[in-house]
């Protein structure tokens, strides 16, 4: 049985249903990310796990125990907030000790746990400082230490990196993941940043409009998106509308040119409209021999981005973008120039549903 089990959970605010019968099972020690755009219900699920919101229907179990009706302070859950939420009137040490004092731990135990936590976040020197005397990154690390000090069953992270600048964000996400691995604590992380989700998670739960669109490892989510939403939300993606010309052999007609997929066209009949997706990194310039696909078009836009040159190639009605490395001894291609783009048969992602 899963350590954290969310069963058919629904949350309605007035007439708006933000979470629609979601099921999710998280194993002990796993790092699962709820990823999706604003309003998709990811934070509501997190708040229901924490006990700040009560589900309209459904059950939440932690280690087999039904906690759906328990108050937040009865759940033994650590939470880190986007806005840090450190108590401004307390020093760093007092902030970390707060949960331990609530639990009536002895003074010596509190002192040693606070020291242990400060060492864990690599900030032993800030014990006597107030939150306003710390940087954003330091404050968030202290918030993490405070949440972990009480040895929670589950750690909930509500967009903890969103308020930080880009450089700190990257270093802190590595630190959070390292701490999580070190302690082996079951963690639910909420973010709308796909890069954070891909780099940190054991599994990602992509959400849209209160539903889970896809649940899988970062590799599966990125390489095998099951829906058009997941495909477009994760990474940059070129979506082409086509028509099945031979379903048995996986042949698809795109703007009058035929491409072949090795992944098959389950459930699609000849003549059906569908959408296929191609990652920019799967595309190369030039004609490829053998079994690869080739599409001929014209260069529509060229954007020089320093180390990378982004080229948009237009076919008849559709277009794709691809990146090439900048080479100082070769001028970038020019607009209007005819070009052939090639990609492998296995690089074509056939999306659920017919093309729009």
């Amino acid at each position: 049985m899963a350590f954290l089990s969310i069963e058919r959970i629904t949350k309605t605010f007035g007439t708006l249903t933000t979470v629609k019968g979601v099921d999710l099972a998280v194993e002990r020690g796993e790092f699962v990310t709820l990823l999706g755009p604003s309003g998709c219900g990811k934070t509501t699920i997190l708040r229901m796990i924490a006990g700040f919101e009560t589900p309209t229907s459904g059950t939440i179990r932690i280690d087999g125990k039904d906690v759906t009706g328990l108050k937040p302070h009865q759940r033994n859950i650590g939470m880190v907030f986007q806005a840090y939420a450190l108590f401004p009137n307390m020093t760093v040490a007092d902030n970390i000790a707060f949960g331990l004092k609530v639990a009536h731990k002895s003074a010596s135990e509190i002192a040693s746990r606070v020291k242990e936590m400060l060492d864990l976040i690599k900030l032993p020197q800030v014990a006597d400082r107030y939150p306003y005397q710390l940087s954003g990154g330091q404050q968030q690390r202290v918030a993490l230490a405070r949440a972990l000090a009480i040895k929670p069953q589950i750690l909930l992270l509500d967009e903890p990196l969103s308020a930080l600048d880009a450089k700190i964000r990257v270093s802190l996400r590595d630190e959070i993941r390292a701490v999580q691995r070190q302690l082996g604590i079951t963690t639910i992380f909420v973010t709308h940043d796909q890069e954070e989700a891909l780099s940190m998670s054991d599994r990602i739960c992509v959400m849209s409009e209160g539903n889970i669109e896809q649940l899988g490892t970062p590799f599966e989510i990125y390489n095998y998106p099951k829906t058009r939403f997941v495909a477009s939300f994760i990474g940059t993606l070129n979506i082409l509308n086509g028509k099945v010309s031979d379903s048995a052999e996986g042949r698809i007609l795109v703007d009058g040119q035929e491409i072949v997929t090795s992944r098959g066209l389950k459930g699609a009949g000849t003549g059906d409209a569908l959408a296929v997706a191609l990652r920019p990194e799967a595309l190369s310039i030039g004609r490829a021999n053998g079994s690869s696909n080739n599409l001929e078009g014209t260069i529509d836009e060229v954007h020089f981005l320093g180390s990378v040159v982004r080229i948009r190639v237009r076919f008849k009605d559709s277009a794709v973008s691809l990146d090439t490395f900048n080479r100082p001894n070769a001028a970038p291609p020019e607009r209007g120039q005819p070009i052939t783009v090639n990609f492998g048969r296995e690089d074509i992602l056939v999306l659920d549903g017919v093309a729009n």
Binding site: H73, A85, P131
Partner: protein
């Protein structure tokens, strides 16, 4: 450029003159009790008067009790309104403003009608219960100042997130209120407390009509029968109010966890 500086300075000087000249005149008059020389004789007489000490002590005690009851009433109310019942905010704000609209004399006549010695709750039946009634009356009177001070302070902190953070660490509601919320709105609470103190110390109508030996009725009595002592009392009352304001500033600058 010069004209933009002239008008603010003119306004400031005009305002200062408007407020300071009567005060200086009162102070100057209070020093003329002894013919031909300036002295603090009026102050000596006032401060040595046992009725001054008794009435001032009485009002100070009533003010402290009013502050305690006011904080106990207002802090949880303002906190819950912000956190759980934001829709009730206009209603609560309207209610807290009523003491500014309804004159104190109307309120106290209402009390006398409701709580007289032959009513179902005869709070004016004994001195102690009348003191209690006076405290409740002062809590009502100071509500606009206390509520606004606390409410403004609550708005400067993210009470929802702080509350949730404390809850997730296992804290109960009373502990959250006392250890997390109250220290972070200390400046606002103390502002409300000092304003309450200043109001209660000088209040006349309620204390007089409830027949309590407070500082306000004492000042009125002296004012009606003496010449120089009322001026000295007025200056003392101003000094107390200013001391309260000064304390607000000092306390604000020493609040823990704030930039200095």
């Amino acid at each position: 450029m010069k004209s933009t500086r002239f008008f603010p300075w003119f306004g400031f000087i005009f305002g200062a003159v408007y407020f300071l000249v009567p005060l200086i005149a009162t102070f100057e008059f209070s020093l003329r009790m002894q013919r031909g020389i300036y002295s603090f004789k009026a102050y000596q007489v006032v401060l040595a008067d046992p009725n001054f000490q008794a009435s001032f002590s009485y009002s100070a005690i009533i003010a402290v009790l009013t502050i305690i009851v006011g904080i106990a009433l207002v802090v949880p109310t303002a906190y819950l309104v912000q956190l759980k019942l934001p829709r009730l905010r206009p209603v609560v704000e309207f209610m807290t403003l009523l003491p500014l609209v309804v004159p104190a004399i109307v309120i106290v006549f209402g009390y006398l009608r409701m709580y007289n010695s032959s009513s179902w709750l005869p709070m004016t039946g004994s001195a102690r219960s009348t003191d209690l009634l006076l405290i409740f009356a002062y809590v009502t009177l100071s509500l606009p100042y206390m509520y606004r001070s606390v409410d403004t302070a609550l708005r400067t902190i993210d009470i929802r997130t702080l509350t949730e953070a404390a809850q997730s660490l296992g804290s109960s509601w009373p502990r959250i209120l006392i250890q997390v919320i109250l220290p972070n709105i200390r400046v606002g609470v103390l502002s409300g407390a000092f304003l309450t103190f200043a109001i209660v110390i000088g209040e006349f109508t309620m204390a007089s009509l409830l027949n309590r030996p407070a500082f306000g009725p004492y000042m009125q009595l002296i004012g009606a029968n003496r010449a120089y002592e009322p001026a000295a009392l007025a200056v003392i009352a101003f000094a107390i109010t200013w001391a309260c304001m000064g304390l607000i500033q000092i306390v604000a600058s020493f609040a823990p966890g704030q930039k200095r």
